[in-house]
Amino acid sequence: MRKARFALLEAFIVAVVGLVLALGANALSPRGLRLTGNYFPGGAGSSSLAHSSTNSDTALAKPGSKKPLEATTLQRLQQRGLNIIGSNLVEEMFHDPRYEQGLVVFIDARDDSHYQAGHVPGAWQFDHYHAEQYLPTILPICLNAQKAVIYCTGGSCEDSEFAAIMLRDAGVPRDKLFVYTGGITEWINSGRAVEVGSRQSGAIKSKP
């Protein structure tokens, strides 16, 4: 009994010391999370939820649901009040003369390593998980633009939606924002070129 009591007391001490150290490590880490931030505007709980990676191509939207991923994504975007844009319109916007003038902009909502590996040529990066780093640059660009196309990986990726909501909440009119649900995966699979490295690096890579 005495030993059990001591073991529990020891566990409590480990928990308290561990928690304090963990909070300190998170605060010191350059990749640390902000405790008070909302990284999932529009709901902290998952809405796309788990996708089982099975051998089947039928991605699951919600555990227990047989709804295809695409249908769930569209429904979710509608619920969040976001405009959706498909592959053909994205192509049109990319070739729109206003793209060169910065009146149509593409926003890549993925993290730095994915962005550097290949993004829509000329797209700006907005990793909303580190909004404080990107928002001061991205916000004026979006406010100045007539249309902003936001994308991430595609499929189950929701980062483009969160980035769009964050931009909307920061003052960008809703009708300017378009979420490209196919994302970079669809862009590449459609045979379109990507820019590697930083924006306007000039390193354009086409699909072999």
Binding site: K3, F6, A7, L8, L9, E10, A11, F12, I13, V14, A15, V17, G18, L19, L21, A22, L23, A25, N26, S29, R31, G32, L33, R34, L35, T36, G37, N38, Y39, F40, A44, G45, S46, S48, L49, A50, H51, S52, S53, T54, N55, S56, T58, L60, K62, P63, G64, S65, K66, D111, Y129
Partner: protein
């Protein structure tokens, strides 16, 4: 051999928890997204708190085990993390199994454990083994190669 078992258990558990913990701590955003998929923490603060502290806490527990400090208390904490986490993983896998109609053991997903995508049956077996080792360390009476096996009791107690 019996003398070596607690040491092996400590070192293997410790190394695994350090590896898994640091893997997540170095990619906190990825872990945050995976944690959200469980749909059990509904406020941003709680979600952020767990995602930012749990990986470091796991690494801390792993370090304590390897050092042989507060071994019983640390093992209790490991059990306190492993049991609810295993239940959550199981429930999620059951929901996926029900939704897809696929054999249970064919269900594969990234559970946020720090080792990427895993087959559910492997994960469950692994967690049961880890929980058994942790429980074994709580009752272990052979403190060898320990900095301070217990914070309160002497080594021979």
């Amino acid at each position: 051999m019996a003398n070596l078992l607690p040491i092996l258990a400590r070192f293997s558990l410790g190394a695994l928890f350090i590896y898994m913990g640091l893997n997540k701590a170095l990619h906190p955003v990825e872990f945050l997204k995976l944690l959200r998929e469980y749909d059990v923490l509904h406020t941003p603060f709680l979600l952020n708190l767990v995602a930012s502290t749990l990986p470091w806490f796991e690494a801390f527990c792993g370090a304590l085990l390897i050092l042989g400090a507060a071994v019983r208390g640390t093992s209790v904490m490991l059990l306190a993390m492993l049991i609810p986490f295993t239940v959550l993983v199981l429930l999620r896998a059951l929901a996926m199994h029900e939704g897809s109609g696929l054999p249970f053991c064919a269900i594969k997903f990234d559970c946020g454990c720090g080792a990427g995508e895993v087959r559910i049956c492997h994960k469950l077996a692994e967690n049961i083994l880890l929980a058994t080792l942790s429980a074994g360390l709580i009752f272990s009476r052979r403190p060898r190669l320990c900095l301070r096996h217990s914070l309160f009791l002497k080594d021979n107690e």
